[in-house]
């Protein structure tokens, strides 16, 4: 069953994942133009982009456990999933800069160094930026072992992003808490279920 699914997945072109991944963005643009975003479109745009980025980061981090535990091979799509996450994270930051903060650079700078939830968010974004910039064949062949080390940043980035979401709220809300718990579960799986370094390396190379 899984084998048949894997065979079928090999037929799926990577651009199809990109196409699916950009649907939320398309819907957001559509809703913006149609005035469907409610009383405060700035907040809606910012939050929808941020949430979608975290969902794709979660999806990216699920690829290896799925291969290890269910033998489901989505490795070919992992880079696309990661880059789609980065696309949403970039749009999220851009929406904050342009719509929310209206280019008030001085206040933004002060906020980013002073406010824990913005520190977390920005750290996560810088990590994702490093991952996105090195998500290409050239970097993988030239960085060798250091590439693998660098790309483990996906985990701290995800945890920081979820903390950023939770900490921006006034009370503990269940949905971002659920996402954080899922991320912690994925991280613990990686640590405790023996995703051996060698196997990890093989799977990364195998998919690219």
């Amino acid at each position: 069953m899984v084998q048949r699914l894997n065979l079928w997945l090999r037929q799926v072109p990577v651009w199809a994942v990109w196409l699916l991944g950009l649907i939320p963005l398309g819907l957001l643009v559509w809703d913006t133009l149609q005035g469907n975003l409610g009383v405060d479109p700035v907040r809606s745009i910012e939050h929808r982009l941020g949430r979608t980025a975290i969902y794709f980061l979660l999806a990216t981090l699920t690829v290896t456990p799925l291969l290890r535990l269910a033998r489901l091979n989505l490795m070919r799509f992992r880079r696309a999933l990661g880059l789609i996450c980065f696309t949403y994270a970039t749009c999220h930051v851009a929406a904050w800069v342009v719509f929310d903060m209206a280019f008030l650079w001085a206040q933004m700078l002060k906020d980013v160094v002073k406010r824990p939830y913005l520190v977390f968010g920005m750290l996560a974004f810088v990590m994702l930026l490093a991952l996105a910039l090195t998500s290409n064949r050239f970097s993988i062949t030239h960085m060798g072992a250091r590439w693998r080390q660098l790309h483990r940043l996906a985990y701290p980035a995800a945890i920081l992003a979820a903390a950023h979401w939770l900490w921006a709220l006034k009370v503990w809300e269940s949905w971002p808490l659920t996402i954080l718990l899922l991320l912690i579960t994925l991280l613990s799986l990686r640590i405790f279920l023996g995703f051996r370094v060698f196997g990890w390396f093989r799977s990364v190379v195998g998919c690219l």
Partner: protein, 267 residues
Amino acid sequence: ALGLNGAPSALSTDEKQNSLEDITHYNNFYEFGTGKTDPVQYSGSLKTSPWSVKIDGLVDRPGSYGVEDLAPESALEERIYRLRCVEAWSMVIPWLGVPLAAVLEKVGVQSGAKFVAFQTLHDPEQMPGQRSRILDWPYREGLRLDEAMHPLTILATGLYGRVLPNQNGAPIRLVVPWKYGFKSIKSVVAITLTDKQPQCSWQMSQPGEYGFYANVNPQVDHPRWSQATERRIGAGLFGGRQDTLMFNGYGEQVAGLYAGIDLAKHY
């Protein structure tokens, strides 16, 4: 009656008012959920009539008062106020209400009273948000007596020429325009005159972030976000931000209440 009228007031601002849609579809009323549209979606279950407000403590005439007793239609004034949320957004809202001072005079404040404590209805049947313990229900707020007696402080029963919609705190709520919005407690069922500083829900929940005073103050940031600027709701995608004014622009009227008080310490 849906239509309500109020006498115009010199305390009103002439700034552009937010639309009825803005005011009724973007609410923080955690009794109905934490989302901005949860209150409009889920507050239909709130039964606002009959409704009584228990007034007790250091008063001459304690008792249960009806909304119409406290804010008779003939006494309503229109107060167009800026509202500044602690989340750094703002609106301009045409309230209908009566000065809280008039209500307190009616019940007779005794000389020992120093503070006024308020409570929102606690009924998870009608207020589904109260089924999760995100705050220690019932919602509580409080003012110093002189703040409560200030002419800007009102009990509102309407807005935009109509009876207060449920999501805005029907049937009767407090409005204190120089303080962050959370001080303006909604759907009030109890008012207590006391000699002790009352417990306030947000202060109880996170005392390092929310103080008793909660005066709008661009110089004192919330620990997690700046209060220097705000976003006016309804300004559109490119509406930008505007500077937040001390006491939300009501400094001329209220600064005297805080003479000699360190507002960075008493936030």
